[in-house]
Symmetry: C2
Subunit: 119 residues, 2 copies
């Protein structure tokens, strides 16, 4: 059992949109990801997804509104809700979601990551 220092782990991440597994509990995973630019529109059939901003900010685009997430904010996107993260500048995000969650949800494209590394 060891603690995880987020700043140290994020410093190791060199690729955008590539979540790394930083912890696991109760079948859920803690994932760390750096974003920049727009992602793809998608939803998750079965999984609610939590986004916590550790550093920077980004816009969570939803079909009916946009939500600006800044450092120290979190948002839970319920299953079934279409969303698209969009970051004007690089942002460092911690995710909580079931281990089975695919980053691009119901879509498959150049952003899709089927195997995530542990960091």
């Amino acid at each position: 059992m060891n603690k995880v220092t987020l700043a140290e782990k994020f410093a190791l991440i060199t690729e955008y949109w590539s979540p790394k597994i930083a912890g696991e509990l109760n079948g859920q995973q803690v994932k760390l990801v750096k974003f920049k630019g727009p992602f793809v529109w998608h939803h998750h059939e079965q999984e609610d997804e939590m986004f916590y901003v550790f550093k920077g900010s980004f816009m969570m685009e939803l079909r009916d509104k946009n939500i600006l997430l800044e450092e120290g904010d979190f948002l839970v996107v319920p299953k079934g809700v279409e969303h698209r993260p969009n970051a004007a500048e690089e942002v460092w995000v911690m995710l909580f979601e079931p281990a089975a969650t695919l980053n691009t949800g119901n879509t498959n494209n150049e952003f899709t990551k089927n195997e995530l590394d542990i960091i």
Copy 2:
């Protein structure tokens, strides 16, 4: 669907060792709690528990070692592992754990909170 700004929510908490529910996803809850001083030794039979330090620091005492958790650190305490948080100064902690988790685990005492408020 609304974002949660941790600093604003923590500002509303006036009591130590009294977790408030700030979010829910996949049967798990996000809880916010302020600590000061030593808690009670306990473990959780069924639930892994994640502690993320938003502000300040505290010592997670385990039976075989102590782990200092500082701002931006997290620790997952697996089910069955005895632990006692101990904060020399006030610390602001975000917890992630199953909704059913009792704060004092297998013990029942003056710290036990059976009903948690939503914040």
